[in-house]
Symmetry: C2
Amino acid sequence: VDTKWLTDDELRAWMRLVAVVELLPGALDAQLRRDAELSHYEYYVLAILSEAPHRTLRMTAIASRTNATLPRLSHVARRLEDWTLCQPAAPGHVANVREHVIDALTPEQVEQLSAIAATLLRRLDPEGTFALHAATAGQEPTGS
Amino acid sequence: VDTKWLTDDELRAWMRLVAVVELLPGALDAQLRRDAELSHYEYYVLAILSEAPHRTLRMTAIASRTNATLPRLSHVARRLEDWTLCQPAAPGHVANVREHVIDALTPEQVEQLSAIAATLLRRLDPEGTFALHAATAGQEPTGS
DNA sequence: TAAGATTGAGCCCTCAATCTTT
DNA sequence: AAAGATTGAGGGCTCAATCTTA
């Protein structure tokens, strides 16, 4: 219906991206839910926490780094109660990431994907609040 | 926490992809919600319907093409009640897609993205139920 | 009776209002 | 009082059970 304004190639690329964006979260959630009773978001929160200086971070900081609202994070915190976990879930999660993404692509494609995603992030998240902490779009050697 | 099993380059690519997957749906929803009071999923359903022979499709067919469960689609259908719409929302939506994705990339990157996404979809959706209808991952000239 | 479709309970997220702390 | 954080109502999605139709 809206195909008139994109070329065939552009439309195909777009629809495939939409499909990936729809399906990937489910694939991540399914594995973690099955093996660790964690949603991908919960896992991500724990992973970020585990990298923090004293396993401690302001709710505000976690929220922005994970692109979540404060209430969402607060609810998640209440449900999890005891944080800990996460570490044992890592190997399975990484294997899943390998299987669905990294190992499916050639090394060149991984680099291409990295560059493409970095470009998109500059528009989706100009402030860089979400992604910048984990993977800077530029190349400065952050001191932390 | 799980960085030991991915190279730095792979990890960076992965984290950027995760960020895109987290942020893109919100960007699509925000524009459509604002300009057409439609979620991206609802828009997508209407777009698929509008391309169908007689504006008609089995719920089962729509559900699989949109990667939704039948109950989800059923609930959406109840809320929308009168289908129609969608056509007027298309230009704004396409402009948004251009701004956030297509125009941000070089033509080469659009092709790379297309190939990468096609590869990922073979693992995320082996049956091709979701994406195959809209954009075949391979290159066979499907008869339909 | 098997495929197609809807319903309702439960869970999670969003938004606005409300504490709480510095 | 302003920043940090929690709470509760409302709405969408999932899952299982149910209804409907060929």
